[in-house]
Symmetry: C2
Subunit: 445 residues, 2 copies
């Protein structure tokens, strides 16, 4: 009997746990769901006879190790910073280790040992990273097999709201970690275009946008997502002249978000210490130049003259001009902003989220140059069964399933860019309704 240990039973684990519970009986497997909150784990496990819910304190190594020793494979849905702790235990006790997070430097340090012990440590098997890798590699592999050359690859992904839930001026609510959303894009983003490296500092990021359009979901803006350069080697496209990975937001979002960036309100490098009861308006004013008589609204318009009426209404809707006290007065600007946004951008019980992903290829062959657009639109069901949880959890669950079925021979530290992973996983995702729409057209120059 094979035992799967899933650590972390939050919202993002809903689909993952359901999928693995469903096949646990038929395939004679045992599932242990561990969470800080035993209640939350129990809610996910329901009354499945093949599953147990347990409480776990990650810092208690005895507790942690005893659970890991009982299992054959460990899936970590914890925050990425905690993965190395679990990964090291898995290495010590010879257990396979799967996550949906980016492969980290800490994990890379274990790579040799993982291989020597004949274990599989699979990371980046969620949505982004995950489905993006797999769906891109499917097309890249197919085109290369036909002798074609990929000359441009842009890939955009976003966790947004389903159109029917876009009921605020930002057309956005938090469907994933709020802190990551507030800090997104800090540093310098870089990519290749027509053989030239392109660098975008944070304060220019939300002004340099690509329009990205979906037949089923409308128009979005894409901004460059950190370091796109490394994907040349990951995808075997070492000499590709154009490669860009980007993040999608509903049109108009980035322009308004840019106001907060320009003000310095997303900075996380120092602590503000406002007196109790300080207003939203004073918080905003602290980022504006002093003037003896001009009001905050005037100063904002003069400081950031590109602000249009649509953007201004988004800023106003956040309450930033109001005399109300801010919900949280001591912390970095980013931490204070996050609390403000959490009150405004909370997903309601009936809200549906949506995941949008689009690959844009330019491919050269005897025919000339063709464009391949491959798009995924996936809507969530409700606040609990979100599109984000589905697209992050299912690829990971499927990977666990086919691995335990003996269909994966790879060992060592891996991400799912090889056929052995992406073919069966994309196939199984299709059965769950996660289907890419692919369009090809010849480019006329």
């Amino acid at each position: 009997m094979q035992t799967i240990l899933i650590i972390g039973a939050g919202k993002s684990s809903s689909y993952l746990i359901d999928f693995l519970l469903e096949s646990a009986g038929p395939k004679n497997r045992k599932v242990i769901v561990a969470d800080m909150s035993e209640k939350m784990a129990a809610e996910k496990v329901k009354s499945n006879p093949n599953a147990t819910a347990v409480a776990i304190d990650i810092d208690n190594s005895e507790e942690r190790i005893s659970l890991i020793q009982k299992s054959d494979i460990v899936v970590s849905m914890l925050p990425a910073s905690l993965h190395p702790i679990i990964a090291k235990d898995c290495l010590t006790f010879g257990k396979h280790f799967f996550t949906a997070s980016y492969e980290s430097e800490d994990l890379r340090k274990l790579a040799n040992e993982v291989k020597v012990k004949n274990l599989l440590f699979l990371n980046e098997c969620g949505l982004d990273p995950g489905i993006d890798h797999m769906s891109a590699m499917k097309i890249i592999t197919e085109e290369k097999a036909k002798g074609h050359e990929i000359i441009s690859f842009k890939s955009f992904c976003g966790g947004v709201l389903a159109p029917e839930s876009e009921d605020n001026p930002w057309k956005y609510k938090f469907t994933w970690n709020p802190r990551n959303v507030v800090l997104a894009g800090q540093g310098v983003s870089r990519y290749f275009q027509a053989g030239q490296i392109k660098c975008i500092p944070y304060h220019k990021l939300f002004e340099r946008l690509d329009k990205v359009s979906f037949s089923q979901a409308g128009e979005f803006d894409g901004y460059a997502n950190r370091d796109s350069l490394k994907y040349r080697s990951i995808y075997g496209l070492d000499n590709i002249p154009t490669i860009l990975r980007g993040t999608l937001r509903r049109s108009g979002f980035c322009q308004a978000w840019n106001v907060l960036v320009q003000l310095g309100m997303t900075d996380d490098s120092f602590q503000m210490d406002f007196p109790k009861g300080v207003s939203y308006r004073s918080f905003l004013n602290s980022f504006l130049p002093f003037h003896p008589s001009k009001i905050v609204e005037e100063k904002l318009q003069e400081y950031l003259p590109k602000i249009n009426q649509d953007t201004l209404s988004k800023i106003e809707w956040l309450g930033l001009f109001s005399e109300k006290p801010i919900p949280y007065a001591i912390g970095s600007p980013a931490a204070i902003l996050q609390k403000i946004l959490e009150e405004k951008w909370q997903l309601g019980p009936k809200d549906k989220d949506m995941v949008v992903l689009q690959h844009q290829f330019e491919v050269k062959g005897a025919f000339g140059v063709k464009e391949i657009i491959s798009s995924l639109v996936c809507k969530g069901e409700n606040q609990e069964y979100t599109a984000m949880s589905k697209t992050v959890g299912l690829p990971l669950a499927i990977a666990v399933d086919i691995f335990l079925d003996g269909k994966i021979k790879s060992r060592g530290l891996q991400i799912p860019v090889h056929k052995e992973f992406f073919e069966p996983i994309l196939g199984a995702l299709e059965k769950k309704g996660i289907v890419f729409e692919e369009n090809e057209k010849l480019e006329i120059h």
Copy 2:
């Protein structure tokens, strides 16, 4: 016989060493000058019979300790990051320790022990920090003694070129650590104005300028310098509504520097890896958006539409539009930019630098509100005897001198904000020609 150990014999130690050598004979003191380069130390010591030049390898603890054990007081002119190593040795062997650098967290951790051992660890006794503290505290102390209230305090300081050496369009050359100049202002700067906290993110810093004018030196632009808030408690001005510390550059400099900031060229967070022979023009182009036909000059104007002709001529003078290869192709944008600037902004043998410092006070009393402007302009003699070296080295040398004369009773971790320091040091600086010009005028409202 008292022994002074000076570690670091670079350009910035010229005046410091000369001052202490001059009184060494008459006051029966011995001076040891230690540097990585024994040659450089020997050049500074000349043939003074009371002084020795020695080579020191800071990483060699035996060598370091043996020198420290021979001395009564240690002056570190090393880069600030190396101070804690020396400070800890001084604590162990019961030696006094003086620097011109900011008091660091590492030093603060030693504060109790320093006090217990009855030692004096004096930091921030150079120019900025140093002369700025002392000259400000003199006025603050005097005004408070008269029962007046300081309601506004702005203080600006800069290391620039003497007007006669301003022979390039930037009117600037490196007179101090180039890396610090390139990275200056990163993070968020903050200050108080009219009781309101004001935060300026880096990408807005060089646009929010104060005009600062000197009767003997002309017009400068001042930009806010990091965290001004902490100076309220340091200067005993806890409830002051307006407090700002700023850095001075010749008018027009900040506007042009802002172009480099806006482009992202001062970023130090990631490595660029250009092929050998890549041009200045390609380096610049990597920070500009892609366009299939527009040239670099056009793209720059469109990307940063506020650029005027004067700014453009500064950028052009740096060679950034040229097809020449850049001097250094692998490193962070800031590191590459630094190499480019080092070739253009090198102080020539006949160049004179200049230090400008201005305090602007608003003081309330029975008379109403008066303004006190206290200004220092100090010109260097040549490439070796710079104003920077004079204004950094002399206060520190004087502090050592009066301390060894037994005129300083304070012990523990100190900065020179108390009368015991600033009165004798400012007095001695006047004799060396470092004199503030003070103007008072009643404000008519």
